[in-house]
Amino acid sequence: MAAPFSEVEVADEPPLPTGVPLATIQGRSPWYLAGLRLRRNKVALAFGGLFIVIVLLCLAAPLWADHVAHTTPDANHITDTIDVGGTQVDIVSPDGTPIGPGLRGQYLLGADQNGRDVMVRLLYGGRTSLFIGVVSAAITTIVAVVVGLLCGYYRGWIDAILSRVMDVVWAFPVLLLGIALGTALAVGGLSLGFTTLAGDSVWIPILIIGLVYVPYMARPIRGEVLALREKEFVEAAVAQGKGSVRIMITELLPNVVSTIIVFFTLNIANDMLLESALSFLGAGVRPPSASWGTMIADGYQTIYTAPHLTIIPGLMIVLTVLSLNVFGDGLRDALDPRAKIRLEH
């Protein structure tokens, strides 16, 4: 199986020392072994670290805004000037071109058409993008695990119904389904009974992105559960008189955890890409909220005069998604070297 960055064959365990009574050799759990394998994959670890750094930077957005840039993500400074090397420079020049990136505290990454500080907006936009990615991946995971367990454990009509529903969702292009739902919901918001989401709420793209990816994760989990439920330990649990729900939670769920972890990681990456695409087309995050996707959508209008407005948020998406993909790959190789988990687009 593909191990992208660690082709070097290293034995998982050192050979058993001879002459030592077996009782003194410590047992090693699968998790410990997975940890060992992951630790050897330096590239995956480095990219995992990069992701954490990006998250921390975005969490620190208010610190940067208050103490370095002295502005807020939505404050306009069209008519202001800034001191660059002793001369006063317009933040947005009279012909509408905003100031570009430069080594300074304020406007480190330049300004946009409205004279807003791109660095500050980038950090706050990252919060939205990351939040959407993580929460929608969590929604996908929870729904997919429940569906996968129910289908795989009960089989029969529950499986038949849920599988057909997933087949139909599968038949939609993800992007098109996202656009359709995003547009339809933006018209009048969504009333869920206990609460109402306004048309411009971030929860609308979160729910959409979370739900459209469910079949892509539920199917493989269902497959695994179908195989697991035939195993002896499940039979033993039934013989002990455990109920169905307890068997699913205490016997089956722990055996699919490694699949869940890998899918969750790769899902965050995919969700962030889908969020940016939906926002770019106007069916995702809506103003006044900003995300990296909406920043590109805004910046793209003036790509020929101020390319930094398009390039910078895009680079952030690439870095974040890449770090998650590489780390997720490493996790997959470490947790289950034989597994063939793959996220489809």
Partner: protein, 320 residues
């Protein structure tokens, strides 16, 4: 075989029916507001709204509305709210551009993916492999529309290597058709090159351990021949399946972003514009069109597969 084809086709029709119901629900039930209010304009009085509702059939029960929508789709009389244009006509008009874009991109992505995947697998673990692996991971981590915007900026503006976007029909001028489409082809292909070359690489590494590959080597075939005839050919099967599904998805909506950025007048751009004006009928049309393509290609792949691999046919018969 005939029975298998018939079963698949019935399945396809059932899925298409389910899709049409879902699309109908998405666009007619989920929106928390009456489209008549938006169409009637800002200073609409209740009578005008009621008249617009009646015109659009919005005062009818849901199942009547569904049947009306289906009738409109089958007779090709679905019209846009915003521009009163016929949706079917617009989709047909966009089809040549969309197919030019997607077929070209598909050829490009298959060729590049096979070359990259092959090189990666035969140099497995060495520099070429690592470089290509990182490259393909970068490829699948890039937002398509961003890549499109960046290519547009650098290659039509900074260095004026390619003409600025928009579509020139093949019949008008084949050379200009191609030169206008090179960047869009590349953009659309990148994601799939990254994805497929990784799948191919891992398939090839699996196949290389098969007994028949060892046999081929043992009987003295040149290494090149072993790699291409025995390893590559047998590793291509899953790729061909993926290709069938992805090609359907790209024609049926995956090209929206590329078409929007490069301003190619295809089906995707038509849908993209409809989003901006919250114009639902074109989206209904394009969504059903897209889903149709995907389901159609899924079915074709299934049937082709059964044709190529008798085990699948037999398995179906045994299960039935």
């Amino acid at each position: 075989m005939l029975r298998f084809v018939a079963r698949r086709l019935t399945g396809m029709i059932a899925v298409l029916f389910a899709i049409s119901v879902i699309v109908f629900l998405i666009f007619n039930v989920i929106p928390n507001s009456n489209p008549a209010i938006r169409i009637a304009g800002k200073n609409a009085n209740p009578e005008l709204i009621a008249r617009v509702s009646a015109d659009l059939g919005l005062d009818q029960p849901l199942w009547v509305q569904y049947l009306t929508l289906m009738k409109k789709i089958f007779t090709g009389t679905l019209t846009s709210y915003a521009s009163a244009q016929n949706v079917t006509d617009q989709i047909w008009r966009g089809l040549p551009a969309t197919l030019s874009l997607t077929i070209g991109a598909a050829v490009l992505w298959m060729v590049l993916a096979v070359v990259f995947g092959y090189l990666s697998a035969i140099h497995s673990g060495r520099f070429t492999d690592r470089a290509l692996t990182i490259l393909s991971l970068v490829g699948i981590s890039m937002p398509v529309f961003w890549l499109a915007a960046i290519l547009l900026y650098f290659f039509t503006f900074k260095v004026q290597l390619f003409p600025t976007s928009s579509y020139v029909p093949l019949t008008t001028d084949p050379l200009r058709w191609a030169s206008h489409l090179i960047l869009p082809w590349l953009t659309l292909a990148v994601l799939y090159v990254g994805f497929y070359s990784r799948v191919l690489r891992s398939n090839m590494l699996d196949v290389m351990n098969e007994d028949y590959v060892r046999t081929a080597r043992a009987k003295g075939l040149p290494e090149r021949q072993v790699r291409i005839r025995h390893v590559l050919r047998n590793s291509m099967i899953p790729i061909v399946t993926l290709f069938g599904l992805d090609f359907g998805a790209v024609v049926g909506g995956g090209a929206i972003l590329t078409e929007t950025v490069f301003n190619i007048n295809g089906v995707g751009l038509y849908a993209g514009r409809a989003i901006g004006s919250l114009d639902l009928p074109p989206l209904v049309g394009v969504t059903i069109f897209g889903a149709f393509f995907i389901v159609f290609f899924n079915t074709v792949v299934d049937i082709l597969y059964a044709f190529l691999d008798p085990r699948i046919r037999l398995g179906e018969a045994a299960a039935a």
